[in-house]
Symmetry: C2
Subunit: 577 residues, 2 copies
């Protein structure tokens, strides 16, 4: 019985129920406008965004390892889906929606397959700056895509930067009512983010209540906008959501169209991977608060189930939403049950409130999306990365620009490739320090940073990196340079404290080095080699062929080797430590 329950059920307490209900209500009030908006971003009718909020939330709750993650329609995933579906050039809206559902099914199957293969660790292959760069670039693309509906212009058929010139040329044809409502809502959303919370606190609200009020602004704006349209009888004067079908669609498996599958699979892979990476990043941010152990493979399973649920509803790919997760956690959610409650409220809206949505202006949904993605552009992250490591800041910028210029899939490929190659490249420029003993201790440090003692005839080198094919030759050259600068060396000690792995290429290099030093009458010693490294070296001939010894510590090597006189080293740079 216990094995059939989701992992969070075991520690559920009755007191959680109230918290989860309140959080569910707050999240539902965000989920309804976001669902309607992101469905239009995908290109399917708005109510599919509400469908995508139902079954996925239920299925996610069954498998989830995170208590607070809010699953459902999400901006970046919707953009990815739209960019995957565009090349299929499907004119019929029903067919287009069917293709979106098939895409969700493919994502779900891929995620479940990855969970079976325990590929959860794959999320690690994308670096933080690359993800931030990707999200920033995608946010810009989404922003550009929402400008026509914001201004009441028809879509130009172009996407990305190419859609800007027709947009500018079309400005005179903008719909003044749509644009007025949209721009006003956008201004209120952006300004409120800057001043609303302090202002409400000044007016006497508690900070928590003020924050919640500000978070409910989108649904308030949608309601107000709809009432204005109804009051002024503007239903035909601007684009509105229009009549939505009441109730629920029948559950069914999307039709398997081989041609679509062939065209969509790379996009499905990217959507799955990025959705998963974002999920992990969001869940990770809350794992500390909740003391949960995040299980990447369980997250894969849960996200896969959620996407299959979305496909069965006939909707589009879903993933975790950062904005809703923040609200869910702050509203006090204790378990995925809050998501189930939110889905229940969305269901009620679908059953009883679809008439209200009919007069909802599309330009308001566009304003909502733009306000949301503006927060995703990570200028602060870029500045911090720049200060810490310009190479990584460069990777972030290149990823963002590639997304904007070449599209989301090429962009993420460029980013991942750049971070892999740049890491190998950095590893290929290792640092090698000549070290000596800090007087009065058994501690060995870089002679150019610390005032240390050395011995005649003894050269101690610390290699500051793992040894592998990418740096073996370079390390060989650097060792030769140091030996050249210390021509009286009779004993060379390699301090291996920083070495955790030595691959075959580097092993061959060490064997060659040992041979060559033997001919020159220099003995090669190892010191501080870790147990695991020595265990592996014992499988090769290096330890047998070594002309010197392997010492437990630099101290023991220092005592045993060189001539007796400790020559105090000239002081190096001032020690800042």
């Amino acid at each position: 019985m216990k094995r059939l329950l989701p992992p969070w059920a075991a520690r559920y307490r009755r007191a959680f129920l109230r918290d989860d209900l309140i959080a569910g209500l707050v999240v539902a009030l965000m989920l309804i406008p976001q669902g309607l908006a992101y469905a239009t971003l995908v290109g399917v009718p708005p109510h599919y965004g509400l469908y995508a909020s139902l079954l996925p939330a239920l299925l996610y709750a069954l498998f989830a390892s995170s208590s607070v993650l809010s699953i459902g329609p999400m901006a970046i995933t919707s953009l990815l889906a739209a960019s995957a579906l565009a090349p299929l050039a499907i004119a019929d809206p029903l067919q287009y929606t069917a293709a979106a559902a098939l895409l969700a099914l493919m994502c779900g199957l891929m995620l479940l397959a990855a969970a079976l293969l325990r590929l959860g660790a794959i999320a690690q292959l994308i670096s933080h700056p690359v993800i931030e760069g990707f999200v920033s670039g995608a946010a810009l693309l989404i922003l550009v895509s929402q400008l026509p509906p914001l201004l009441g212009l028809p879509a130009s058929g172009e996407s990305g930067l190419a859609s800007l010139p027709p947009l500018v040329l079309g400005l005179p044809q903008a719909n003044p009512i749509a644009a007025g409502l949209g721009l006003a809502a956008l201004a209120i959303l952006v300004i409120s983010r800057l001043i609303a919370v302090p202002a409400l606190v000044y007016l006497g609200l508690s900070p928590g209540a003020a924050l919640t009020a500000q978070r409910l602004l989108p649904i308030i704006l949608l309601g107000a906008g709809t009432l204005v349209v109804i009051g002024a009888e503007w239903q035909r004067a601007l684009a509105v959501v229009g009549t939505l079908p009441e109730g629920l669609p029948a559950l069914r498996v999307p039709a398997w169209n081989s041609a679509w599958v062939r065209d969509l699979w790379p996009a499905a892979l990217v959507i799955s991977l990025l959705g998963f990476v974002e999920n992990i990043a969001i869940a990770q941010a809350y794992v500390q608060r909740t003391r949960e152990r995040l299980d990447a493979d369980a997250e894969l399973r849960a996200l896969g189930a959620a996407n299959i649920g979305s496909a069965l509803m006939g909707a589009f790919p879903v993933s975790g939403s950062f904005s809703r997760t923040v609200v869910n956690a702050e509203a006090g959610a204790q378990s995925p049950l809050s998501g189930v409650f939110a889905a229940g409220l969305v269901l009620l809206a679908l059953l009883f409130l679809t008439d209200l949505f009919a007069a909802l202006p599309m330009s308001l949904l566009a304003a909502l999306i733009i306000a949301a993605v503006l927060q995703l552009i990570q200028l602060k992250g870029l500045r911090q990365a720049w200060l810490y490591d310009r190479g990584e800041a460069g990777a972030m910028l290149v990823t963002a620009l590639s997304v904007v210029v070449f599209g989301v899939e090429t962009g993420i490929a460029v980013g991942v490739g750049a971070s892999l190659v740049s890491w190998i490249w950095r590893s290929s420029r290792p640092h090698i320090a000549v070290i000596g003993r800090v007087p009065g201790t058994e501690h060995f440090r870089n002679v150019s940073r610390f005032e240390v003692e050395t011995k005649r005839g003894l050269l101690m080198l610390r290699i500051d990196d793992n040894l592998f094919f990418g740096n073996a030759e370079r390390v060989y050259e650097l060792i030769q340079q140091r030996l050249h600068a210390h021509p009286d060396t009779r004993d060379l000690v390699l301090a291996m404290s920083a070495i955790s792995r030595i691959d075959v290429t580097a092993l061959v290099m060490l064997l060659n080095l040992n041979d060559e030093l033997k001919q020159r009458g220099v003995r090669l010693h190892l010191a501080e080699a870790k147990g695991r490294v020595l265990d592996q070296l014992a499988q090769s001939s290096l330890l047998e062929e070594l002309t010197g010894q392997s010492y437990l510590s630099c101290e023991r090597a220092f005592e045993a080797l060189g001539d007796g006189a400790h020559s105090p080293q000239r002081p190096g740079q001032p020690v800042s430590h």
Copy 2:
């Protein structure tokens, strides 16, 4: 004046001249049969192999940083050229030869461009096992390609494994004379390699002379085979080299055919890269003997010039040959002048001996190639890699199989990709050790391998890898696990002796860890952080926000933290060090 001379000229002494002449003679006697054979492997008339031995050797000598490398026709490069030219489907032999020369020109230009950009370090991106796997796979492909000429069968038009079924079906049509000569020569070559040297030494030759005699066996066999054909008047009974044009071709730049360039550039890139990598590997093997400093950028320049020289002769891509380099070095070569002398002797053969080549059986050239490539199949290397690291042995096998099944270019791409991803993957599974003090020293070691002392409330963890996006999350989890196992921890010390680099992703992880530990009342300390790492961390907010201290050494952290009582740790596994 001095700047115009090649780098080796400055240390040239008159006494070297005799050594270089002798080495040049021995190499020429290998170069003639190899040149004829490898030209047929490329698919151009045999005498182009001799052309490819002339100007390239001169130009290489002008720029070379290695004294003993023998440049010219080479088995793997010839195979790569043949596989690049095959898809062009050029029926006209003159056109085919022109395309081969264009390919050599493209390789030369790419290598010179790489030299200008100082990309010599790029050779490091291919690991030793991947190169060995590639060479073994390519050797098998070459072997298969030479079976039809060995047996006097026409080429089937298929290549690689696909050529085996037609070969087997065609066996009854084999030419008995060609097959007899070829198989006899192959048997002599293979058996002599096993027993010739001991036998000759037994007969009274010095080991050096015996080795040289064995190395001259190919030219002796070619001579003997030719005499047999002439004596028996078999010129029309089997495929022979036929009449070759006497003298030298006019130097000219290959015609620039844009369609060919577009099709050939990926292959040119692969040929350049692999030729260069092989050159470096060969030169590296002799750098020790000659005390030269190998300059990768100079090698790029020299190899680029050699290929342009080959293109000007109308021939095909060239690179360093391992077999001839061994012979050249053992025959006593002191400088690239030995290569120039060898080229001079080949020139004499071209001027005066072409009539002799006319009766040379093609099946003998095939036997020569097969005997040569048999030595390239690295079963011993595979066994050693298997013992040391099964993952790398796997990469070697996968590369070899990919070459055989999918062809040389896909094969090398698979190998390079596999070695990059597997290195990142290994780095993503870091080892974290709980450490304690080895009693009576200031040395800290893994508690499960050494009998060490620890303190209550103090947990010291050594992270055995650089911190980066590929392992940041995993390290975070491992630290949490260790903390969970030591619930009384009040001070956590991260021993950073093995950490040389911390990227932005890992920095964010450390900031999160610090925040989270603060909430739990655990202080986070660093110890043994290297100067360069601290310099970079100072650009972030980590050192300011750190709840604990950064200690110079584990010893200082151990003295300052935890409660006074040193609790002797239970002994771990027996210490084998």
